[in-house]
């Protein structure tokens, strides 16, 4: 039954032609900027910067700046390629219909060339400026986001965001690798933290924009399994996420400043996720706890990573 539902959703996607009119004017430069999803990039840049600052080896400011710039450009490239591939989906969702491709302000080929060009540029530049391990991880993160998440998973399975979440978890590893040339336990724990944070974050959003995803035929968990199961999964993922957030403290990788901050911030996250679990609303108007959790989840990641840097720099 669930399989048939997924097939129906996928079929709906592939049968829908591009709805956007072809662009008749050259795209405005601000449309190229919009293609890189600047708002999403801010979190990627911040976690990458924290990975770099938390590393035990100092990096020259110019090389550090270049590494962060390349993380931002890599994230922008992956976003552009995502928009290139998902132009048909974006046209069907209110939230994304005004993006450059579905709105007809840019043609798909331009977006593809921009995304591919920016991908190669960011990987080569970080490789030449810092080291090729960091470049390899950056290349892997772009490929993971575009191929594994966008092409393979997003239209096929409600687990899309679970596995695909790994793509957004790479920046602190890249930042750390740029400074040290390797990846030890702390950056791996930071990777796990973002990996486990992604499902509650996106499922909270997808609960109150469920109709958008359903209209576009994206098999997000609330569309396929309903709000009740999604709320249970949010609460379930919050527990290992909180454990991963606090873990660097007992493992001796971070001090008490970080440990206490991470524990307090995770406790609030857990309380908000329990409020979501207790909510029975099926319409967006009644989904205040979900909206609150979504907003808090962004603040949470900023605060946890900020606390880590603060802790590491004070300990120094």
């Amino acid at each position: 039954m669930r399989k048939r539902r997924l097939e129906r959703l996928a079929k709906g996607n592939y049968m829908t032609a591009m709805t956007a009119a072809p662009a008749t004017l050259p795209a405005h430069w601000t449309d190229f900027l919009a293609l890189t999803k600047p708002r999403v990039m801010s979190l990627v840049v911040f976690t990458g910067l924290c990975g770099l600052l938390a590393a035990p080896v100092p990096i020259h400011p110019i090389l550090g700046f270049t590494a962060i710039l390349c993380i931002a450009l890599g994230a922008g490239a992956a976003a552009a390629l995502n928009m290139w591939y998902e132009a048909d989906l974006d046209a069907k969702m209110k939230r994304t219909a005004s993006r450059p491709l579905p709105a007809g302000r840019m043609d798909r080929q331009t977006a593809l060339h921009f995304g591919v060009g920016l991908s190669f540029f960011s990987v080569l530049l970080i490789g030449l400026a810092t080291n090729w391990f960091a470049a390899g991880v950056l290349a892997l993160s772009i490929l993971f986001y575009v191929v594994v998440y966008t092409v393979w998973l997003k239209r096929r399975t409600p687990q899309n965001i679970v596995i695909g979440g790994a793509a957004g978890a790479f920046p602190p590893v890249i930042g750390w690798a740029a400074a040290t040339g390797d990846a030890t336990l702390l950056p791996i724990l930071l990777f796990v933290l973002i990996f486990l944070w992604t499902p509650p974050h996106f499922w909270a959003l997808s609960l109150f924009v469920r109709s958008d995803y359903a209209a576009a035929g994206v098999p997000m968990l609330p569309v396929v399994s309903g709000p009740k199961v999604t709320r249970q999964q949010i609460a379930l993922y919050t527990l290992p996420m909180a454990a991963a957030a606090v873990a660097p403290w007992p493992l001796g990788l971070a001090g008490a400043i970080y440990g206490v901050s991470a524990a307090a911030l995770s406790l609030v996250f857990l309380i908000l996720s329990l409020q979501v679990l207790a909510n029975r609303a099926t319409e967006p108007e009644g989904m205040k706890p979900e909206k609150r959790l979504f907003a808090y989840s962004i603040l949470y990641l900023f605060a946890v990573f900020g606390a880590l840097v603060l802790d590491r720099w004070i300990l120094k």
Partner: protein, 45 residues
């Protein structure tokens, strides 16, 4: 507004100019960055 419309051509030129200016600024910044990276790498810091 059709493609032969003078107003269309003016808009095309305006956008091309805007993109050219942005590209020039980005290339200049990139040249400065590569210069900085080269100096840092050469001094071995």
């Amino acid at each position: 507004m059709t493609q032969d419309d003078p107003q269309h051509l003016v808009e095309v030129r305006r956008r091309q100019k805007g993109r050219a200016i942005i590209m020039a600024v980005l290339l200049a910044a990139f040249a400065a960055l590569v210069y900085g990276i080269t100096i840092v790498r050469m001094t071995g810091k």
